[in-house]
Symmetry: C2
Subunit: 363 residues, 2 copies
């Protein structure tokens, strides 16, 4: 069997994107939205990007039960059995563990790449090259590999990876993972040449990650190892098992539970364009501006004395605005948000306040 047929992709697609509320909603999160106005949603773009490298039948979509319909609708070429539905939100480690056991039951020699569904990637030819190099590496090393993006600015919104010992071209051991730095520290990181943005993209053999989970997150290992491997190849049996077992999983990230603890963690330094599209400001920075430095999504804007705003509307609408600078104006499904970009980190609190005061429909 061609090595390529042992390669799998896991697209993580269960988030609710509340930092883009109200444009991204619990009922229609960010990854299901055509955020860049290209005609394809972020999920579809993620799928398009990987489906040239990975056999289509080897692509899995991990998402919340609630989004089964959205995934099926947006990716009609994916079969129902390739969509794994989480009955509860449990962060990335349980999701990745389940995917690994599911794949291992089908193909003990499998390797897998884990990618988020809601990031923006440009220079996709470099992405393809990096992914192929990464697979070659993990197939010949007992490695937990992550992508470190070559930083282009002292970004304070990302985590960084410090590279250690060089293994081969673009391949290094990881020295440290860091939290989001302040601006001063970010500048020091950039100047050093040793720090790369933490992309949240992972590659490994399924046997390698299962071994790492066994060693570092035994709680999770005991959940998934409890089922015979035949369960993972029988969709009905798997659904029954997961609906019982998954809600009991510890809610923890793969970064915290495995990557920061294991000693076989490597980073492939890559130089494709990447943006985690984590905030309105990130979207603003990424988007083309008009002559008044405003960014518009799906709306006509008539702006007076207004600069550096981002306007995002679901549904046809004209916005007429006077005297607004550095604001987010977002309107969708019965909610209008007007908020300074500088206070966007408060949006999650606003969502909670709105839910408490006016009900769940505003989530």
């Amino acid at each position: 069997m061609d090595q390529k047929n042992h390669r799998y992709c896991v697209i993580m697609c269960g988030g609710i994107g509340s930092r883009f509320w109200p444009y991204s909603r619990a009922a229609l999160p960010k990854q299901f939205i055509d955020f860049l106005g290209t005609g394809r949603t972020l999920l579809q773009m993620s799928y398009d990007r990987i489906s040239g490298i990975i056999p289509k039948q080897n692509i899995l979509i991990m998402t919340n039960e609630r989004y089964a319909g959205l995934v099926a609708e947006q990716l009609p070429e994916i079969s129902r059995d390739q969509i794994l539905l989480e009955p509860a939100r449990r962060n990335t480690a349980p999701c990745i563990a389940w995917a690994a056991w599911h794949i291992a039951a089908r193909d003990p020699e499998a390797s897998m790449i884990v990618i988020p569904s809601d990031h923006v990637i440009t220079r996709e030819n470099l992405f393809v090259e990096s992914v192929l190099q990464g697979f070659d590496f993990v197939e010949s090393h007992n490695a937990l590999l992550t992508f470190g993006i070559e930083p282009t600015r002292p970004e304070t919104g990302y985590g960084y990876i410090q590279i250690g010992e060089r293994v081969s071209e673009n391949m290094n051991k990881v020295k440290t993972f860091t939290e989001k730095p302040d601006l001063e520290l970010a500048k020091v990181f950039i100047a050093s040449g040793e720090f790369f943005w933490n992309s949240g993209i992972f590659l490994w053999r399924t046997s390698t990650i299962i071994e790492a989970l066994r060693k570092h997150v035994s709680d999770l290992d005991s959940v998934f190892a409890a089922a015979p491997s035949s369960v993972y190849t029988d969709p009905a049996a798997e659904r029954a098992f997961i609906s019982e077992a998954y809600p009991g999983c510890v809610s923890i990230s793969i970064d915290y539970s495995v990557m920061e603890k294991a000693d076989n963690v490597y980073v492939e330094t890559v130089s494709f364009g990447w943006n985690d599209l984590g905030t309105w400001s990130a979207l603003y920075d990424l988007s083309p501006k008009n002559s008044e430095t405003n960014v518009t999504q799906n709306c006509n804007v008539l702006a007076y004395n207004s600069r550096r705003n981002i306007f995002a509307i679901r549904g046809e609408k004209l916005i007429v605005v006077d005297g607004l600078e550095d604001y987010i104006v977002a309107d969708a499904d019965g909610v209008l948000l007007i908020c300074p970009k500088a206070r966007e980190q408060k949006i999650k609190n606003m969502v909670n306040d709105a839910k408490l005061k006016f009900g769940d429909k505003y989530e």
Copy 2:
């Protein structure tokens, strides 16, 4: 015949209220909106107020052809023949002239009050007393009477009337009509005790206003005097005549063409509560504020660091706002306006810009 049966009311209802755009639209102007959230529109409130004083069959609604359906729907107790439809916008003098000829043809002894349909009046018992006193006055004097509202603040958004020679209690000759003053001058006006707000409410005998029009606006007189009085009592004939003649009328206000020129102009000084609801700021001032001094119309608002704003939404919506002070936020029928209250006089220009750039549907 009881004198009361010779009394008529003309409600002027043809404006488009563009200063409240986009909440007030060419397709649904201000007077047809329940602006105060009472369950009755401004037109309905105007009708309710006057229908206790004037026989219902003596109430006429003057409006644009476009609003025939809205008037009929909002005032089902009015017969079709009491709604006079203007085939073109021609300001107040042609509208009042037509109404006067229409009434005079039915009742040569008629007197009439002309009221706008989009003002707010409180202390309605005082309004009723003032109207009755006004009718008594014009029925015994050859007078063009207007109401001067006792000012309660140095308002710069209104025209003022300076009173002259006293005739009887609350009744004076008019000395001058003034344009909107600046704040300094408005303070002087108030301190003098001689200046009253120009209400745009008029009372006279139809014979008195027809005579004044003949003297001061002969162009208009010749239009309406050209038809035999039988035309004004035959709805089909009147419609045919008006559709031919009305568009040729000079477009001019009754204030400028008659009231500022005639020498039999009187003012009744009145003390009911009155607001011409001419601007968003006027609506803001009039409306109850929440604890953050924001005003909301038809919407839930979650406000952070936001004060002295007015939020008006058509259709159920939640507004979440941070860091906005002294703004108008209005959303209706596909348009969202965000504009500082201090620049509200620019809204008319914005409507024009929107029409030019994006089409008539935004009027």
